[in-house]
């Protein structure tokens, strides 16, 4: 019998673990180590364009660790400015996104139950279309002779078009718009589980609605706020498409700097060092998110 043979196959259980484990080791962990390694190398005119750290010379292994890339990043103001402005732009955009999405998620969670699935579908639908296309949509809206300027001139609010595309304003709009679904979904899943009797108790005891919100609803939704904010903040810091298409010369973001270092300057070791520092800045937000996520996934029912 075929299945009794399979049942006694010793590898069944370990095969389930080993296959995805090996895949992740090979294509996630090892690449990570390689970036770390190459960030201590120097660029060279060869293929691939970097020097090996370990070299065989006269029957001895020579290890050259080069800290120059990190020193270079510390000395050049460009990188400092890029890191700081990425963090600042991502933080402001995350707060804006939270302020816009919280009321929406709250209203969705309080909507009649036959509406909720439809609203949920409407939130998810844009994220199934293309990210690139959704950022592109704002290029037409914000450009000098774009829809928004035309509308404002037509309405008599403006006399001549103002520069909106290629500015930090456009980058904020782009991030908020593109990452909205990632903020709404965790907030909604959290808010919809709340026990409404707590809010009623607070209101019955005479607390005004705003106080009830601040002391009951908001603290209860802490996990949703953290999850949503991290899902917006972390990818925004390394964002490339939005600053490239909507940003201007003054919106320096580290994802774009890394891209240029790699594709235009072809300096792989510096690009690796830029990537490692970027990740170091994101360690705390990532740990916060991982803590929340792996606890959710790893726990048994």
């Amino acid at each position: 019998m075929i299945h009794s043979w399979l049942k006694h196959l010793p590898g069944g259980r370990s095969l389930i673990i080993v296959v995805p484990y090996l895949w992740m080791l090979l294509f996630f962990l090892i690449p990570f180590i390689i970036v770390f390694k190459i960030s201590f190398s120097t660029s060279a005119l060869s293929i691939p364009p970097y020097r090996e750290l370990l070299q065989w010379t006269d029957e001895a292994v020579k290890l050259t660790v080069h800290f120059g890339n990190y020193l270079f990043l510390m000395e050049d103001r460009l990188y400092w400015v890029a890191y700081l402005s990425s963090l600042k732009i991502a933080a402001i955009a995350t707060i804006l996104c939270l302020l816009i999405c919280y009321p929406v998620a709250y209203a969705m969670a309080h909507a009649p139950s036959h509406w909720r699935n439809l609203l949920l579908m409407l939130v998810v639908l844009p994220s199934w279309t293309s990210f690139l296309i959704r950022v592109y949509a704002w290029m037409g809206i914000l450009k000098n002779n774009g829809y928004l300027n035309n509308l404002l001139i037509w309405a008599g609010i403006l006399d001549e078009p103002i520069q909106m595309l290629n500015s930090s304003f456009a980058v904020y709009i782009g991030i908020v718009y593109a990452y909205m679904p990632f903020m709404i979904l965790p907030l909604y899943t959290n808010l919809v589980k709340h026990d409404h009797s707590l809010v009623e108790a607070s209101l019955d005891l005479g607390a005004p609605p705003w106080k009830t919100f601040l002391t009951v609803t908001l603290p209860l939704s802490k996990n949703g706020v953290i999850a949503g904010s991290m899902l917006v903040f972390i990818p925004s810091v390394g964002e490339f498409i939005i600053p490239e298409l909507l940003g201007g010369p003054e919106t320096l973001m580290i994802g774009k700097v890394l891209w240029q270092e790699f594709f235009n300057n072809r300096d792989w070791p510096v690009a690796s060092a830029v990537a490692m520092v970027m990740l170091a800045l994101l360690v705390i937000p990532i740990m916060l998110f991982q803590h929340y996520q792996s606890r959710e996934m790893g726990q048994n029912p």
Binding site: L6, W23, P48, L119, L125, P126, I133, M180, M297
Partner: protein, 275 residues
């Protein structure tokens, strides 16, 4: 949570929120039928940009390449994600479970530029050491896409696996079915909606990726987002509006169909009709 009547504040935040979300896409669709080359000035109804779109052989080739990669990515990451979520949810404790549970969802939060760069450096290093994967192209893009899609698939499937009633599986085992048979005859049919959702998510993630594919692709393997990006960089174009409208239409159709199918399944379940 108990449903109540929505206040004015809630209704206006829904209107503003969804307006913000949908108006830009609506504008894209409307102006894709604009006769003028100047995308933002309306000059009458025309479908000529759609005709031009379907005559652009490079764009069609890129679209075909993207669809092939997305299909293969979705299939592979479904298998990987299924194995990973079984390992996380069903196999109890094993050595290295903590590192496994930490590593699997990590690509979800990695900045794309980091993932792209790190995979490229791996492929280059592998090529140098043992001559594989022999240049970069479809295969390397597929590997990169499977790696990050598996994270999403695992999140969806493991949360579904945790919810399902295990008594059905236990009944199957008690009646003498092998674990493998129980898995295919009982577990798989129960989680089919989640499998469908995960497959579709992996498919669209792969279809949409620009940054990672740009790092790990080689000459001759240009994907649709790479083609669109190089055109969009030069400014807005009515042809891209037409392409965007087609994508929006297909996605809406897909989401509606999937929603309709899942609702049918749920109704069948509540009526107690055996599958």
């Amino acid at each position: 949570m108990k449903a109540q009547r929505l206040g004015t504040f809630s209704i206006s935040s829904l209107v503003i929120g969804f307006g913000f979300l949908y108006i830009p896409m609506l504008i894209l669709v409307i102006y894709s039928f604009n006769a003028s080359r100047l995308v933002t000035v309306w000059a009458g109804f025309s479908t000529k940009w759609y005709v031009e779109l379907f005559q652009d052989q490079q764009l069609l080739d890129a679209a075909w390449m993207s669809l092939k990669i997305a299909f293969l990515t979705a299939c592979m990451s479904l298998v990987m994600g299924m194995l990973a979520s079984l390992a996380l949810v069903r196999l109890g404790r094993f050595r290295g479970k903590m590192s496994f549970a930490g590593m699997i969802p990590a690509p979800l939060v990695m900045p794309e530029v980091f993932t792209g760069l790190s995979l490229l450096l791996l492929f280059v290093a592998m090529e140098k050491s043992f001559g594989w994967p022999g240049g970069r192209g479809m295969l390397t893009i597929w590997i990169a896409h499977v790696t990050f899609s598996t994270a999403f698939v695992t999140v969806i499937l493991s949360s579904r696996l945790k919810e399902i009633d295990r008594s059905l599986e236990e009944a199957g085992m008690d009646l003498g079915a092998s674990p493998l048979k129980v898995f295919f005859v009982i577990t798989i049919p129960i989680i089919t909606p989640a499998l469908l959702a995960a497959w579709l998510l992996a498919f669209t993630l792969s279809l949409d990726d620009l940054v990672i594919a740009s790092f790990v692709s080689g000459p001759g393997s240009t994907t649709l987002p790479m083609k669109v990006f190089s055109s969009v960089r030069l400014g807005i174009s009515p042809k891209i509006n037409a392409l965007a409208s087609i994508i929006i239409a297909l996605v809406s159709l897909g989401v509606l169909t999937a929603g309709w199918i899942v609702r049918g399944w749920e109704r069948k379940k509540t009526l107690g009709i055996p599958q």
